[in-house]
């Protein structure tokens, strides 16, 4: 499951070889290095894409400090004065604080639920032979390739009839249910790779199956749980379709939904700078967390596709 080499040999490397790259080869007599042209070309292309990725993000940050007239008048000019009031306005008046709180509650609840229920099901499916094992496994896996929107039409009424529409706990249950396919798929494969001898020894010593699972197997499965946890955290934090359909109460909106509604309502309110502040506010925590936990995030997100 090696997905990246250890990150950032960058500072040391660039410090050591910077002169080599910037200046032409010091000894002209030396034969032209193989791949030199390709090297210039590949750097050029890679730098262009890096700029294309970063520019929209930096532009958003810059815009969030400008006033409305200069946002529309000159989109690329730097702000004359830094309008920090955009941020405070977004946080209080535009309800960003509520959206954050709702998102934290929903994602916190569903992440824990997904990991607990997902690992329970995956453990049983990976380690025990019983009639229907394969059927249940494929039932879970099938959920990964089905278009969710098809189920959402009746689901809306299922949830409504249970009195769970527009509630935080209702949304948590739905998030868990729709996160289970990938979680079960990933963790089943992971539990299969763990040695059986430890669990057997614990069982011989008189531990029950349940105790063996919680005290022996779960701690052993920690790396897998972290990967799949990051995957689910990002997926649930960024979720847009499920809350759009199942969470129509303005007070219960999560971040993504709230921002989109905010953008729609700006048509008549006209507080675009506040909206940009809200957008950046929503972007920064995930980007920050990603930069700090870069290796784990990449591993968590690509692990599934490499299996």
């Amino acid at each position: 499951m090696k997905t990246t080499e250890t990150p950032a040999p960058l500072p040391a490397e660039s410090g050591a070889t910077v002169s080599k790259a910037e200046t032409p080869a010091p000894r002209p007599a030396r034969p032209k290095k193989e791949g030199g042209v390709l090297n210039v070309f590949s750097h050029g292309v890679l730098v262009i894409w890096a700029i294309m990725v970063v520019t929209p993000l930096l532009w958003a940050v810059m815009t969030s400090f400008k006033d409305d007239s200069s946002i529309f008048g000159s989109p690329w000019s730097l702000p004359h004065t830094l309008h920090f009031d955009n941020w405070s306005r977004a946080w209080t008046q535009a309800n960003m604080s509520d959206y954050f709180l709702n998102t934290v509650l929903v994602v916190g609840g569903s992440l824990i639920g997904t990991l607990v229920l997902g690992s329970m099901a995956a453990y049983v499916l990976a380690r025990f032979d019983f009639p229907g094992n394969r059927f249940i496994y494929y039932l879970f896996i099938g959920g990964m390739s089905f278009p969710i929107m098809l189920a959402l039409v009746p689901l809306f009424y299922v949830v409504n009839n249970m009195g769970l529409l527009n509630t935080i706990h209702g949304l948590i249950l739905v998030y868990i249910a729709y996160s289970l396919p990938f979680t079960v798929f990933f963790l089943t494969a992971f539990f299969r790779t763990l040695p059986t001898s430890v669990a057997e020894a614990a069982f011989v010593d008189g531990a029950s199956h349940t105790r063996t699972f919680f005290q022996i197997m779960l701690p052993m499965a920690k790396p897998g749980l972290i990967s799949v946890g990051i995957f689910n955290f990002l997926g649930q934090w960024n979720q847009y379709m499920l809350p759009t359909v199942l969470n129509t109460d303005p007070d219960k909106r999560v971040l993504t939904q709230g921002l989109v509604q905010l953008a729609v309502s700006q048509g008549y309110k006209g507080d675009w700078s506040g909206l940009f502040a809200g957008l950046v506010m929503a972007m920064l925590p995930v980007l920050g967390a990603y930069i700090v936990f870069q290796r784990q995030v990449v591993q968590g997100l690509t692990a599934g596709a490499l299996k």
Binding site: T3, T4, P7, A8, L10, E13, S14, T17, G35, N39, F41, S42, H43, V45, L46, W49, A50, V53, V54, P56, W59, F72, S74, P75, W76, L117, M120, Y123, V124, F128, F130, I136, F140, S145, F146, P147, M149, L150, A151, L152, V153, P154, F156, Y157, V158, V174, A177, Y178, L180, P181, E200, H209, L234, V245, Q257, L259, L287, I291, A305, L306
Partner: protein, 308 residues
């Protein structure tokens, strides 16, 4: 390990399976059933109407447009995204200058920097990305047309999302922008596990870097490319395309139905027009398209697995 085994199995499965059955499996089954009824979603009364919804769907111009656009998404998006990602990943991992005494094949300097930056969009919500680009595309005050004016192209001021012939491509470009990084990182990991001796041997035999890509890298990476293709296609037919089209386009789905996709049409029919039964019919069509897409990619991509 027989003692109490079945009690334990049932105990551990009942909650996850129950939740999954209630919120995922059951609604799917209901959907297919509802597609044969005239259920509005607004009242609990409905009756069976046989294949009426399916007949209506075949005569529905908007449905055909949405199908066409969804198919375009499923074909073009993976093709463009994966080609770009393969190209970047190859540049990052193999495009490096050969250093004296170093390995024959090396990555460019700062390869981990590129991988970190390229991955940025992947951690952001597609909803936020869509909002951001909706502003950039604004014809009067958006960032893109402002750049065009800045470099003297005052007469080239496309309407972007407002132009029926451009809007769909604008939407697709956003999805490419946001997903390329994921595949760069994915393919980089795959390329890093290809043994360097293979490249050394090929280069000794006089192969160009261009041909090493097609003869060595791509065949050895094929499994990853294929599963990436299916993954991207399912996203392009489902959740991702819903978010971008619903948030960015006018209507949504416009102008003049030029960007509507199946998943959006299902949503609009069910939750805007009160035609839940007809919505599930389109949903069933979307299901068929998705499964057919996955089956075709798996079938066409089937090759002998190369061990290395």
């Amino acid at each position: 390990m027989q003692h109490g085994k079945y009690r334990f199995i049932v105990g551990f499965l009942v909650l996850p399976l129950g939740l999954y059955a209630l919120f995922v499996v059951w609604p799917f089954i209901q959907s297919i059933y509802y597609s044969f009824t005239d259920w509005t979603g607004l009242s609990p009364d409905f009756k069976m109407v046989g294949f009426d919804n399916y007949k209506r769907m075949l005569d529905d111009d908007v449905f055909w447009k949405s199908l066409q656009h969804s198919l375009l998404f499923a074909l073009v998006l993976p093709l463009v995204t994966i080609s770009l990602a393969l190209f970047f990943a190859f540049m990052i991992n193999v495009g490096g200058r050969r250093r004296r005494g170093g390995p024959v094949i090396s990555g460019v300097r700062g390869s981990s920097f590129y991988k970190i930056v390229y991955f940025f969009p992947q951690v952001l919500s597609i909803a936020i990305v869509s909002l951001l680009f909706a502003f950039a595309y604004n014809p009067d005050s958006g960032a893109i047309n402002s750049v065009l004016r800045g470099i003297g192209l005052d007469h080239v001021q496309p309407l972007w999302l407002g132009d029926p012939s451009l809007a769909l491509w604008c939407v697709m470009a956003v999805l490419v922008w946001s997903t390329v990084g994921f595949f760069v990182v994915l393919f980089s990991a795959g390329m890093a596990s290809i043994p360097a001796e293979l490249y050394e041997a090929a280069l000794l035999d006089g192969a160009s870097r261009f041909s090493t890509f097609f003869r060595i890298t791509l065949p050895l990476l094929w499994d990853t490319v294929q599963s990436g293709w299916v993954y991207m296609g399912i996203l392009a037919l489902g959740a991702e395309s819903f978010a971008v089209v619903q948030i960015m386009t006018t209507g949504p789905g416009g102008p003049d139905y030029s960007t509507t996709v199946m998943v959006l049409y299902v949503y609009q029919k069910a939750f805007r027009d009160g035609q839940a039964a007809y919505a599930t019919t389109i949903g069933v069509a979307l299901l068929v398209v998705t499964l057919a897409f996955a089956a075709i990619v798996m079938r066409l991509g089937r090759r002998e697995r190369l061990e290395f």
